[in-house]
């Protein structure tokens, strides 16, 4: 395994596999109590959510979540540790995935209790033997005060962490098979003015990945460690390896230990205790035999918990800084917003203060930043959105949305009601085709669909392709708006979505001259190209924008201006209530 000294010299970054709120929160609380500037947990691999909110000190922090290891590896350059909280069945596979994705990681902790022996041995062969440090299976992990908390070791609540002096190194290494007992012992150590140098829990399984022997050697090797406190149980032969280490002098630091399970000797048949390994099949596996062997090897073997605690209390005291920190009174927020906030300097919107926006003087840039949730990287993005807005502001009073705004205004309603009536009209048949078109081009390109087959699949069910077709314009009669938009493709290094849309158009126009790539379809294709090549959006991010209806926003925002103009126009003209002439309605 890695030396403890080496662990102290690293930032201790960690990826969590699976979801376990209290365990993750405890690690973040440890980081904060130790004075780390940022959480050690870089991300969580869990499905169904993009971020999870945790406390960071008294405030909160968002931890990114990824549905798969590959997605996590795409987003994060490197991590040092894995905290694997998948079930016993999933532990082997997920651990392999982790090291495949992060081959230079140092190691990790596997929390599951019911990992098959065969899998544990395989992981041991694959990783532990090759220099990684894997702690478990089962148990509560590894803790190096001030640097690393990998698991529930040391406590799950900030009050326990605070009480246990985990901010700085002491002189006592605490090594234990049991997760509950390691925390009891850490408390014993801390409550008698000692600090721990590190704490490691092997777990109660038959083949711990880091064995007691490995941990003893690490303690011997660690310059901070002056004393070793060990808790073991009946079952297995690990203690005899420790006896060998002490007898040969490979471990020379003083050892205080307690071996539990003498109660097992009262039963006729061997009893299986809570941990998988805790069964004494023969005499040398009993607690009494191990106690005797360790005593002979020179360890101080306590014969009761009381004696154990007194022995620990008797260790020379550590000098520790008394610096209490409280996280009392924190409470979780109800929702998260990253768009705007009130600061000391007034309101901040989309990354800049409102006065700065005013100073900048570009509403297209402001809206673009707000829609993307971040400042755009490329001027092309801003220019494109500005052009889209200028071209989409209004397409005449006859269209459904404008008409509804006008009818509502003439019914005597106010601005907001009339505007709402117009906006509520936007949907699959009116104005809402940009998102639909974006979906077509994105799926067409990523699934490498043949344009002809794509069209055929629609023709079969007699459906229109979003973004294709116009009432007025046709081949030979170009829509001047699409002509302007199309020029943007010249400014892009790559425009595969636009190319795909044009390939579709090339086929559909041979069937019917009016089946051209329309404004909606052009906006969708070029916006995808710009986000991909200029703003470096991944496929997943583009898919999320499609699902969130982002592309329709490019229509809705300018059209609010158009509808408002129609409303004000009607108020100026004041023609009174509108009623359809009888001739215009067929009464069937």
């Amino acid at each position: 395994m890695r030396s403890i000294e080496e662990i102290r010299n690293k930032p201790g970054t960690c990826l969590v596999l699976g979801n376990y709120r209290p365990g993750i929160q405890a690690i973040l609380d440890f980081d904060h109590l130790c004075g780390k500037e940022a959480p050690s947990i870089k991300a969580i691999v869990t499905a169904g959510t993009k971020f999870q909110k945790y406390f960071w000190g008294k405030g909160e922090v968002l931890i990114p979540c990824f549905p798969t290891m590959l997605a996590a590896a795409d987003a994060i350059e490197s991590v040092e540790w894995m905290f694997n909280i998948n079930s016993g069945r999933r532990a082997r596979q997920t651990t392999i995935e982790f090291f495949d994705a992060f081959p230079s990681a140092l190691g990790g902790h596997i929390f599951a209790e019911d990992v098959p022996e065969k899998h544990a041995i395989e992981l041991y062969e694959r990783y532990q033997k090759k220099g990684k440090t894997l702690v478990g299976t089962a148990g509560v992990g590894l803790l190096v005060p001030g640097y690393l908390k990998l698991g529930v070791v040391g406590g799950a609540d900030w009050r326990q962490l605070e009480k246990n002096n985990l901010k700085e190194s002491g002189s006592v290494a605490v090594l234990s098979a049991s997760g509950g007992m390691i925390n009891e012992i850490i408390t014993m150590v801390a409550s008698t003015s000692h600090g721990i140098s590190f704490a490691l829990c092997f777990g109660g399984d038959r083949f711990p990945l880091t064995s007691p022997k490995d941990a003893f050697l690490a303690a011997q090797d660690d310059s901070q460690t002056k004393h070793i406190v060990y808790y073991g149980e009946l079952g297995g032969y690990d203690e005899y390896e420790l006896v060998e280490l002490m007898k040969s002098g490979a471990v020379s630091k003083p050892v205080i230990c307690y071996i539990s399970g003498v109660i097992g000797e009262a039963f006729d048949e061997p009893v299986q205790f809570g941990h998988a390994k805790a069964l004494a099949g023969n005499k040398s596996e009993t607690a009494s035999a191990k106690r005797a062997a360790l005593t002979e090897a020179g360890a101080i073997v306590a014969h009761s918990m009381k004696e154990f605690s007194e022995r620990i209390a008797g260790i020379e005291k550590d000098e520790l800084k008394e610096e209490a920190m409280s996280l009392d009174g924190r409470s979780a927020s109800l929702f998260t917003s990253t768009i705007s906030k009130e600061t000391e300097n007034g309101y901040e919107f989309a990354g800049s203060s409102l006065p700065d926006w005013a100073h900048e003087g570009d509403i297209a840039l402001q809206i673009c930043s707000a829609l993307l949730g971040k400042h755009p990287q490329s001027q092309i993005t801003v220019d494109f959105i500005r052009t889209v807005f200028l071209l989409s502001v209004d397409h005449g009073p006859q269209v459904s949305g404008a008409l509804n705004t006008i009818v509502t205004a003439r019914a005597g309603k106010n601005l907001v009601d009339s505007l709402a009536a117009g906006l509520m009209t936007i949907g699959p048949r009116f104005g809402g085709a940009v998102s639909g078109a974006a979906n077509e081009w994105l799926s067409g390109v990523t699934e490498a669909k043949d344009p002809a087959e794509h069209i055929e699949s629609y023709a079969k069910v007699k459906k229109y392709i979003a973004g294709i077709g116009h009432k007025k314009y046709r081949v030979g009669l170009e829509d001047p708006r699409t002509a302007i938009l199309a020029k943007f493709s010249n400014r892009l290094p790559n425009h595969r979505y636009y190319d795909y849309a044009k390939a579709i158009e090339a086929i559909t126009t041979t069937k019917k001259g009016s089946l051209i790539l329309n404004v909606d379809g052009t906006i969708a294709a070029l916006m995808l190209d710009i986000l991909e090549s200029e703003e470096h959006y991944s496929h997943q991010e583009l898919k999320e924008l499609v699902d969130a209806d982002f592309f329709n926003a490019l229509f809705v925002i300018p059209r609010i201006v158009g509808f408002t103009a129609h409303y004000l126009d009607q108020k100026r003209l004041d023609e009174g209530l509108f009623r359809l002439p009888d001739d215009d309605v067929l009464l069937g």
């Binding site: 209790e113 509560v140 049991s178 408390t187 109660i263 941990h275 805790a278």
Partner: protein, 377 residues
Amino acid sequence: MARVKLSEYRAKSLLVGEVYNGVCLHSETLEQDIEKLDEHASYIIKVDQGMKKRGKQGLLRLNVTAPEAQPAVQSLAEKGFTRFIAEPMLPHDDSEECYVSFERTRDGIKIMYSEHGGVTVEDKPESVREYSIDDVPLPKLFVQHVTEVMNNQHMSFVEINPLLVRGEECLLLDAAVLVDSAGEYESSWNQNDIVSTETLSKLEQAIKDLNNNSPASFSFKLLNPDASLWMQLMGGGACITIADEASNQHKTQYVAGYGEYSGGPNTEEIYLYTSRVLDQMLESRASKKAFIIAGGAANFSDVKVMFKGVIQAMKERQARLSSQNIKVFVRRAGPNETEGLALISEYLHRNEIFGSVHGSETVLTDVVSEALEYVDA
């Protein structure tokens, strides 16, 4: 999460494969099972519940024909057994018998072999020596096959004694197999194939049933039904440490048994568990009795939830708890510790069965010393 015993019938079905000609006999389906026996063959019938040394204990019937099977099984069932195995008698000479075992270790499969088998090997333990897969003097194909089955079926330990080797053919007379219970989901065996040598008391069976029907885990092993110290313990390592305390003080004879639960049981389950243990405790003929509820500092289990279940069970038996002068001693820590301990403390005081109540500030075994002092006084 542990190594458990597989029935000999299932073990051999897996190791020998389709040609295995043993028949599984179960008390409940005995008539149908016996129909599977060959009328012209002669069988050996054995108890199949993981017992060793069945010959010495009289758990075998030799040279049984199909019509004789019913009474033969009956005579074994009278000893309290329910699972049996019938195999055609295989005439052989004792000198043909040898011994082999395979055990999964961190460094691979460890093979122990002796050219002596059956009961002879027990007299010559020094003849059993460790071999590697490559140098054990057994047919290669057989050794490969066994290790393959071990890997596919999550077997941790396979002992074949006696084994008969006739040329390339290996015949398994008796086989004892331990499987890794965590590997069940990838294996061909299931819970029904797991056997236990012990006969369970009513309490132990009830707790086992509770365990089988809950995501949390529960256990209880009765040691002495008339003892004075009754314990309900939580948390893998803490449980043993607490139970040890009486033994550390050389007072194991006071301990009624060993019971533990973990995995965050709900109030209802804790109520059921506590009820069973209390009922058994009330039957104990010890003159002075103490009930210990103790565990380490829980990481996630809610202490308050737990004591609600405990109190519910006590309430229903309060009159008898009081009349038997039972005192209750508590040590528990973890989430909602203050509220939970206040709850139980108030209940115990009000009903005058208060022994002591401690939280994380006290060494976890003090509570046992206090209970021992009470029953000893």
